[in-house]
Amino acid sequence: MGNDILVVAEHLGGTLSDTTFELLGMAKKLASQTGGSTVAALIGGDDTMLSQLGAADLVVRVGGGEIADFNPEVHGAALEAVVAAKQPRIVLIGYTSMGMDLASHLAVKADLAAASFAIGIEAGDSVVVTSQLYGGKMNVTTDLGSGPCVVSVLAGSAPADDGRAHGPPASEDLAVPPTAGKIRFRRLIEPEAGDVDITAQDMLVAIGRGIGNKDDVEVAEALAEALGAAVAGSRPLIDAGWLPKTRQVGKSGLKVSPKLYLALGISGAPEHIEGMKSSSTIIAVNTDKHAPIFNFAHYGMVADLFDVCEELTEIVEEKKG
């Protein structure tokens, strides 16, 4: 094992994700703690992506256009090969849809200590990771020991700007390792457009499972209409079919940053926070005074969302005449 920090560069549709740069910034800090260098693994990438990875001291490229589309089996095996070749001290992977296919796979295959849901990492004699668990209700700090480890990092845990540097870094190529071909990529399916674009709204009335049932979505719609806002929601409401997919805010939904984000009956799970934390003003209403959303909101109110909706709708309608 060396002292290097390896970052897995993530890309979709030819574009590197913000997470990649967040991890690179984090890696540079960690490398200064371990005395190693920052290495990026670029699997199925291209030259444009390479030129954006200047924050790394070295980029290991595995394959190119022929494996541009993510495949858990192929990319998993490629990452194993990079780790075997470079023997890093810490592997950083985004806690993203793709990252979830890679991190635990690598931990088992390369016998690495592992931590998930990470929001902070310190590297001394051992690597100490703080994870945000229980839907954001507890932070757990774990000692991963002095051996090599893999850490899945929540999006937004470090500023992306620290990991952005142009100019092509040094790079070397590694052959794509053979796999059994049990998973085959077929196609990407883009979402259907046509509904309200929640990323373009000044104000969002965002509802969560606290709304209770489908018929009560009307209550939020009435408030949104009075305010001239659009209704957005947390994932469970979309999964239940109470709101269209285009209204979903969060990790697998859309990232929004309106002037006002009014969160009603949303607990504030990390996957939701990821999508709305850069809103200018966040006001949260929740009956649970310990709801994690209060750690991210600028203003909070421990109250029943129905009471708030009703009173607020009346006041707004009155004001607007």
Binding site: L12, D69, P72, T96, S97, M100, D101, A103, S104, H105, A107, V108, A114, S116, F117, V128, S131, L133, Y134, G136, K137, M138, N139, V140, T141, T142, D143, G145, S152, K182, I183, R184, F185, R186, R187, L188, I189, E190, P191, L227, D239, K245, T246, K251, S252, G253, S267, A269, S280, I283, H290, F294, N295, Y299, G300, M301, D307, V308, L312, V316
Partner: protein
């Protein structure tokens, strides 16, 4: 198709969580447990697959408080066999749990293992890819759709912004389910009670295994830092909105 669903209970996150005197664990006294919501989606997707293609569905869980009820509920919803694993001792991590599940399935054949995409206490990784790596099977996480066609599976995986990727997967495989095609069904209490009287849970007893334990240094509720300024009523909320120029 032979289907297996791995299920796990979690503290109910709507309840207050307290740290115990060790400063490293949740205070068990106040915990209420529920089935991991993503495991509930995995079960629903497995039930839909069973209904569409025939086959057999086995649900598996490690013994603990309320686990019998969780397994009987799965039987009431349509699972054929419920397997309860005992003798394991305290489960310390996801990799520990994965090893227990793989040991308990060692003598069984299956085409597809489904479980939730994640659990809120996944300190060291997710169950589906960990189990898959241990048994050498292909795995896809964040799955929102499965079709079974001519011996292979067509699997949809979700990225961000509603973008999906579609893959062909050759069974036996492991899938981490984000959401079933429909809201998980509800089993009426009377049905669960009826199953409880007529069906039996199969049990496997494994030797205690302490697992790879990582040292938890501490557990704390997140610092609120410059957390929310708490408002006393809607009138104050209106003032904030006015001051921000949105009203």
């Amino acid at each position: 198709m032979k289907l297996v669903v791995l299920m796990k209970r979690l503290p109910d996150l709507v309840e207050d969580l307290e740290v115990d005197d060790s400063g490293k664990a949740l205070d068990a006294e106040f915990l209420k447990f529920t089935l991991n919501e993503f495991d509930d989606h995995a079960l629903e997707e497995a039930l839909l697959l069973k209904e569409a293609t025939g086959g057999e569905l086995t649900v598996v869980a490690v013994d603990g408080e309320d686990v019998d009820k969780m397994l009987y509920t799965a039987l009431a919803k349509g699972a054929d066999t419920a397997l309860k694993i005992s003798g394991t001792g305290e489960i310390g991590s996801t990799s520990h749990l994965a090893r227990i599940f793989t040991q308990s399935l060692a003598d069984r054949s299956y085409d597809l293992i489904l479980t939730g995409v994640q659990a809120a206490d996944d300190r060291d990784g997710q169950l589906a890819p960990t189990v898959a790596a241990m048994i050498g099977a292909p795995c896809i996480e964040v799955v929102t759709g499965i079709e079974h066609e001519a011996g292979k599976l067509i699997v949809r995986k979700e990225y961000s912004g509603g973008v999906l990727a579609e893959f062909d997967v050759e069974p036996p495989a492991v899938l981490g389910i984000q959401a079933a095609r429909q809201t998980p069904r509800y089993a009426p209490v009377s049905k669960v009670r009826q199953v409880q009287e007529s069906a039996t849970l199969e049990t496997v007893t494994l030797a205690a295994d302490t697992g790879k334990s990582f040292d938890i240094i501490r557990m704390t509720p997140p610092e609120t830092g410059a957390g929310a300024e708490m408002l006393g009523g809607v009138d104050e909320l209106v003032k904030v909105m006015e001051s921000k120029g949105v009203l």
